[in-house]
């Protein structure tokens, strides 16, 4: 008797679970963000405002950890279940645009900073709305360094502490960024070109600093998190980073934070600084495309961007928002950093953009940098080989 009851219970439980799994979704726009759960009240407020302005439309928000967005999105895309609206960085947006997965929104350019809008162009189309921006400022420990240099070539020969800085040479496609900051035009007519002697000199410059112990070997292998970590532990005198990362320093080492000052970004020979862009794209698979485009435009319009900038030390991509007096306030360290970044924005550019096969290019560049800096390989030969491999890849 007891056995039979147990069996029936098990069957009922299984049916319940299957029904639970099969329940139909209410029609909605699915919106994915890149690790913004810390801004829950803000995002929920924007969604509520949008739903109020467009009755009958519901937005379901899903926050995805930064490091897992690529994998989760690609799996969902291949399986035909991508979100309707998704927050992407330039690399991911470019990869998806080349796959034809994003909607062309070129007719919605009004109000955005032209240089930022253009950076999202892939071929003829523009495949995302620019959202929040950041430019690097020089964050430095005044106990280890009296004043930061204005240019990379003036980096001090010796600093108090272990390293001068930990530039991100080996991860992402930042090597291209450093080439461009020194004036090389590495992307010409859709082809990679490392023949400019500036590329070779840039690579050898970082090699010299590595050999002198001014930058750690991790600069060639690890992500930006290591640079932040070294700065927090007082082992690096300079952190080149967006102002938003000051909060991490404050949270983890108040002593280092107390000694921290900010200055404009250290420049290369071309005097350019890079803009990092976060954007919002609409997927072609979305069955509610019009609503999705309307939501992406609503999320990125001036007032909503300004409200987000008040919660984190980031910059808006809309010209009218950038003119707000908030961006010239200099009361706190974060304010100062934000003001410097906002001033820089007018003369900055998105240096690396719209690359096909970004992840593979990143690996080729990382390998090339390591061959020259760790193994002492001939930079000309390594750069030539890297250029050929990349051009074969993006042909």
């Amino acid at each position: 008797m007891r056995e039979s009851l147990r069996r029936r219970g098990l069957v009922l439980y299984s049916v319940f679970c299957i029904l639970l799994g099969c329940q139909d979704d209410v029609p909605h726009i699915e919106f994915w963000t890149m690790q913004l759960s810390g801004f829950r009240p803000y995002i929920e407020r924007v969604i509520a405002d949008f739903e109020k302005s467009r009755p009958g439309t519901t937005v379901v928000w899903v926050d995805v950890p930064f490091t897992a967005m690529g994998q989760k999105l690609m799996t969902a895309y291949v399986a035909g279940r991508p979100p309707d609206v998704v927050n992407l960085n330039v690399d991911l947006a470019s990869s998806l645009a080349h796959l034809g997965a994003l909607v062309d929104v070129r007719d919605h350019s009004a109000g955005y900073l032209p240089s930022v809008w253009e950076s999202l162009r892939v071929g003829e189309g523009v495949y995302a709305f620019p959202w929040y921006l950041s430019t690097e400022v020089t964050i430095y420990n005044s106990k280890l360094l009296a004043e930061p240099p204005r240019r990379f070539e003036d980096l001090p020969g010796r600093v108090i502490g272990k390293y001068a800085m930990c530039p991100k040479i080996g991860s992402d496609t930042d090597l291209l960024k450093f080439f461009m900051m020194n004036g090389a035009r590495v992307l010409q007519d859709g082809k990679m070109d490392f023949s400019d002697p500036v590329c070779r000199e840039t690579l050898l410059f970082w090699k010299k600093l590595l050999e002198a112990g001014q930058i750690p070997p991790e600069a060639l292998t690890e992500s930006h998190r290591v640079a932040i970590d070294l700065y927090i532990r007082g082992q690096a005198a300079i952190l080149l980073s967006g102002p938003q990362f000051l909060k991490i320093v404050k949270q983890n080492n108040p002593e280092v934070y107390a000694a921290t000052k900010v200055a404009p970004c250290i420049l290369g020979r071309a005097g350019l600084t890079n803009i990092a862009v976060m954007n919002v794209a609409v997927t072609t698979a979305s069955p509610r495309r019009e609503d999705a485009i309307a939501f992406a435009a609503f999320l990125t319009h001036g007032l909503n961007q300004l409200a987000l900038c008040r919660e984190a030390a980031i910059l808006p991509s809309v010209e009218s928002a950038l003119e707000d007096p908030f961006f010239s306030r200099e009361e706190t360290l974060e304010d100062q950093a934000r003001a410097i970044a906002a001033r820089q924005l007018r003369t900055s550019k998105v240096l690396v953009r719209g690359l096909k096969r970004q992840a593979e290019i990143q690996k080729i560049l990382q390998q090339a940098t390591q061959e020259v800096c760790f193994n002492g390989a001939d930079p000309d030969a390594v750069l030539r080989r890297a250029e050929e491999t990349i051009n074969r890849l993006i042909r």
Partner: protein, 255 residues
């Protein structure tokens, strides 16, 4: 002597990171002892809810895994039937396919069966695999044939023999497998993240990644949350330590 030095070095290497994490979790940036990192981490991310999700998913995975793997393994070890060798070969072949390769097809299957955004989408794909079946096949081989024959003579069916005679005798192997699978399920990050949509149904490793936000990352909170998330597997291991070791050694000494 050399052995002891090697063992001590090995222990330091293994325990070192955990000790560092533990120290970080109970100190302030100034070096004072505190529990504020634990309360802070609890406040920043709903660790309790994620822990319940993780416990449910890991518990159900282990239960199903032990049941299905031992059910598949018993005939392979104790029954003679046509195609047994081919079946074994096919099982071994699954080792050649990396887990990542199956990601997209598995996701599609889960989506079609309505398992997307459901805890069962995490549990079912992990509820049986070749490793568990082969591990249990080896365990069932140690069960004396005479016991099984005696049960058959008494008129017992194979399912009843499996459940009443064979399974109780391989309990240490089941315990060892339970610990291994619990640890793997507890620490699993990418698949739960891909198949679960709502953040309210995420598991603990995903919650840990949330403490490392885009614009903030309190390493002490992260360490405290990591210590908390290590407690259930640690408790399970301590509770089953004897059976775990006995299970791993089972079959290593020929009787």
């Amino acid at each position: 002597m050399k052995v002891y030095v090697a063992l001590i070095l090995g222990t330091v290497l293994l325990v070192g990171p955990f000790a560092w994490m533990l120290t970080l979790s109970v100190t302030t940036p100034e070096g004072d002892l505190t529990v504020a990192n634990y309360t802070g981490a609890w406040r920043e991310a709903p660790i309790g809810r994620y822990a319940v999700n993780s416990l449910f998913i890991s518990g159900a995975t282990v239960g199903l895994y032990l049941f299905l793997c031992s059910l598949f393994a018993y005939p392979l070890a104790k029954l003679r039937f046509a195609g047994a060798s081919l079946l074994r070969l096919l099982l071994l072949a699954t080792f050649l396919v990396p887990w990542e390769v199956t990601f997209v097809p598995l996701f599609e299957v889960c989506a079609r069966f309505g398992l997307y955004d459901s805890a069962w989408g995490v549990i079912l794909p992990a509820s049986v695999n070749a490793f568990g079946i082969l591990f249990m096949t080896d365990a069932f081989r140690t069960v004396p044939n005479s016991l099984i024959e005696a049960a058959r003579l008494d008129g017992w069916g194979e399912f009843r023999i499996w459940w009443k005679v064979a399974v109780p005798l391989v309990r240490p192997s089941l315990a060892a497998l339970a610990v291994l699978i619990f640890l793997s399920s507890w620490g699993s990050f990418l698949w739960p993240l891909v198949v679960l949509r709502q953040d309210s149904s995420y598991t603990l490793p995903v919650a840990l990644s949330y403490l490392q936000g885009t614009f903030s990352a309190n390493l002490r909170y992260l360490a405290a949350a990591a210590v908390l998330s290590a407690l259930p597997p640690l408790a399970l291991f301590l509770a089953m330590q004897r059976q775990f070791v006995a299970g791993l050694l089972k079959g290593s000494v020929k009787g």
